[in-house]
């Protein structure tokens, strides 16, 4: 458990840097988390991915499938890796304030 400063807000993050309380998320926190994942400024494409992840998580309680993320946002997988260098799970989900996805089969 560690503290993370985002603008004037302070939030808790887990050992991998994921937000502990997803409901503490907002655009400022997102931008700050982006900094930790090599995404300094969130372009319109970034927000498209982050918002889709955010909405999906709020509705279904889990992160979406990679293929669904690609199909809904229209970005191919390599585009998503360009947008989020550490990938859909570690990068995009963290910025969208989702808990660390553990896709245990």
């Amino acid at each position: 458990m560690a503290e993370f400063k985002a603008g004037d807000q302070v939030v808790d993050i887990d050992e991998d840097g994921f937000l502990q309380e997803p409901d503490k998320w907002n655009e400022v926190v997102a931008a700050a988390l982006g900094g930790t994942e090599g995404v300094d400024d969130l372009t319109e494409d970034h927000w498209k991915v982050v918002n889709f992840l955010r909405d999906y998580y709020l509705e279904f309680g889990v992160a979406p499938m990679i293929r669904k993320l690609c199909k809904e946002t229209g970005f191919k997988l390599n585009v998503i890796y360009e947008l989020f260098p550490s990938g859909p799970a570690k990068g995009a989900c963290k910025i969208a304030g989702l808990p660390k996805p553990t896709g245990c089969v």
């Binding site: 509705e59 499938m65 293929r67 089969v105």
Partner: protein
């Protein structure tokens, strides 16, 4: 002695560069504690999961710490549980008493073959527990103690148990070669049950168990989430075949309840197998239903304790009763079928509210499941193909040169060997078997079963996967095999990594993905893509010359 100059032979004395002192100290394995170097253990269970399941001693701890924060009377707890298990399982008692250490199993474990750690020899993994049994539960042991192989239960022993009983994928290959059928998986299950009494568990197992308890599947997919996922698959199916499918969910009064491992809902290539199931059921017009409540065929309770296994498995019969189905079909999964074939009926049966499974399309009555009333999807599909109920065009799979990996549990806890092979031979023209001593009942494990398939366990999984990887590499070189088919969700996840390391270029596929790719469905459009939306070889040229003409 005169100082030697470089041009004299004596100058170059034997450098002991490589004399690494790896040979064990003289007093043998009993006194070598486990070395918890980073990357050699799986992350421990997070407290919240143990709390949600009401299991003992939830706390933050790490195997690398010196103090594992165990309760004061941990020795007494272990002895009490040990005694209880000895009283409840004749197998445990006999396996403790009858091993003659003949060594027939010693070199059969994939972790020993790939890693070389002697304590991964099945006989020695069992001795880790047997030495404590001898010391504390046999009169001779109490008297002679160390002289007859007894060992005191110390903290190092508990650490050793945690280290080595989470390096066994419970694949039971050792029990095939043992003259008395001693099953190290059974001993591992007992050891893990004892360790859980002290709150020593692995997060990669306990999180799915907690999820499965709460939402009905390992991944925590909620009901509407599952519907959304299945509909997403159906969109892809429509792109490929032009046929629209509405996945039936929680439909009462259906003839069949279909349960598959939740890995098929999230992890490629399992998702393509899930699409294959739906296309098959659509084609034969089966009156079936999915269930969001019983949306997990797999059962990580199998790696925890008998009660947790029973708790998670109870949902399947309960849901079948609520929905009023006639019988149940199970998807392609390994551990799921170990639980279904050997534990489910005993634990949660009798399922007298169900009928003996009878295929509505071929009329075949599945006598072999007269009591459990649940059949394997490959048994069902093999029967369909045998009676010619499916229009198949194996040429659609001609670009696929496939080999088949017998998943451990279907092979050694059921004997499901010919059904998948019959199906693959019917849907694929080039199928090549791997060497004889690596398949069927002697199959080698993927190295990631029984809760070991997590990324922090990578080196151990690659060591464990080496025998299987070597066999895949062999058929890749000899027959140019490019796909490895299997009937298990964990295999479809972990074998991808095993193949990428040991036999790069070989993809992994489920059996029903092959079936769906080769199926000529009624009213389907010209197929230009396979289920992975990759263009089919034939289609590329046609597209090219369509473009030109």
């Amino acid at each position: 002695m005169a100082e030697h100059k470089p041009d004299q032979m004596e100058f170059y004395k034997q450098e002991e560069l490589q004399q690494i002192d790896l040979n064990p100290p003289k007093e043998g394995w009993q006194d070598q504690p486990a070395d918890f170097r980073p990357g050699s253990w799986i992350y421990p269970t997070k407290p919240k999961h143990l709390e949600s399941l009401g299991m003992p001693n939830p706390r933050e701890w790490s195997p690398a710490d010196e103090d594992w924060q165990l309760p004061e009377n941990w020795q007494e707890i272990i002895h009490k549980k040990f005694k209880e298990l000895l009283g409840k399982y004749r197998s445990f008692r006999i396996f403790m008493d009858t091993c003659v250490r003949c060594g027939a199993c010693a070199d059969k474990c994939h972790f020993f073959i790939g890693g070389g750690d002697p304590k991964n020899m099945p006989v020695l993994r069992a001795e880790l527990v047997r030495s404590i049994y001898r010391n504390d539960f046999t009169t001779v042991g109490k008297i002679l103690g160390r002289a007859c192989g007894g060992r005191k239960l110390t903290m190092d022993v508990i650490k050793e148990w945690f280290y080595y009983f989470y390096q066994c994928t419970e694949c039971r290959r050792c029990s095939v070669f043992c003259p008395y059928g001693i099953d190290t998986a059974e001993i591992t299950m007992m050891a893990r049950e004892m360790l859980h009494e002290l709150g020593l568990g692995v997060n990669w197992i306990m999180e799915p168990v907690a999820n499965c308890h709460r939402t009905g599947n390992h991944l925590g997919i909620q009901p509407h989430g599952l519907k959304d996922t299945l509909e997403f698959f159906c969109e892809d199916i429509e792109d490929v075949t032009g046929i629209h499918i509405d996945p039936p969910i929680n439909k009462k009064g259906a003839e069949v309840l279909f349960v598959t491992p939740s890995g098929d809902f999230l992890a490629d290539p399992g998702t393509f197998t899930c699409m294959g199931y739906m296309m098959l059921f659509e084609e034969i017009g089966l009156d079936y239903t999915w269930s969001t409540y019983a949306s997990e065929g797999g059962n990580f309770g199998l790696f925890t304790s008998a009660d947790v296994m029973k708790k998670l498995n109870a949902k399947i019969y309960a849901e079948a009763k609520r929905l009023g189905v006639k019988y149940i079909i199970g998807g392609e999964c390994g551990h799921m079928w170990r639980v279904l074939n050997q534990y489910m009926d005993t634990m949660n049966g009798p399922a007298d509210f169900l009928d003996v499974p009878k295929s509505p399309i071929t009329g075949t009555v599945f006598e072999n499941s007269r009591s459990t009333k649940m059949i394997h999807i490959t048994e069902f599909t093999a029967d369909l193909i045998k009676h010619g109920k499916l229009k198949l065009d194996p040429k659609m799979n001609d670009h696929v040169r496939v080999t088949f990996h017998d998943s451990c549990n279907p092979a050694r806890a059921m004997g499901l060997l010919e059904e998948p092979r019959y199906i693959i031979n019917s849907v694929c023209n080039n199928f090549h078997e791997m060497p004889e001593n690596t398949i069927r009942e002697q199959t080698f494990c993927c190295g990631g079963g029984a809760g070991l398939g997590t990324d922090e366990n990578m080196e151990m999984r690659l060591r464990g996967g080496m025998p299987r990887g070597t066999a895949v590499r062999h058929v890749q070189e000899k027959y140019d095999v490019n796909q490895l088919a299997c009937v298990c969700a964990i295999d479809r996840a972990t074998l991808v990594t095993v193949c990428d390391y040991w036999a790069p270029g070989v993809q992994v596929t489920g059996v029903h993905e092959l079936v769906a790719n080769a199926m000529v469905m009624k009213g389907q459009k010209e197929r230009t893509m396979n289920l992975r939306l990759e263009p089919l070889p034939g289609a590329e040229e046609k597209e090219a010359n369509d473009g030109e003409s």
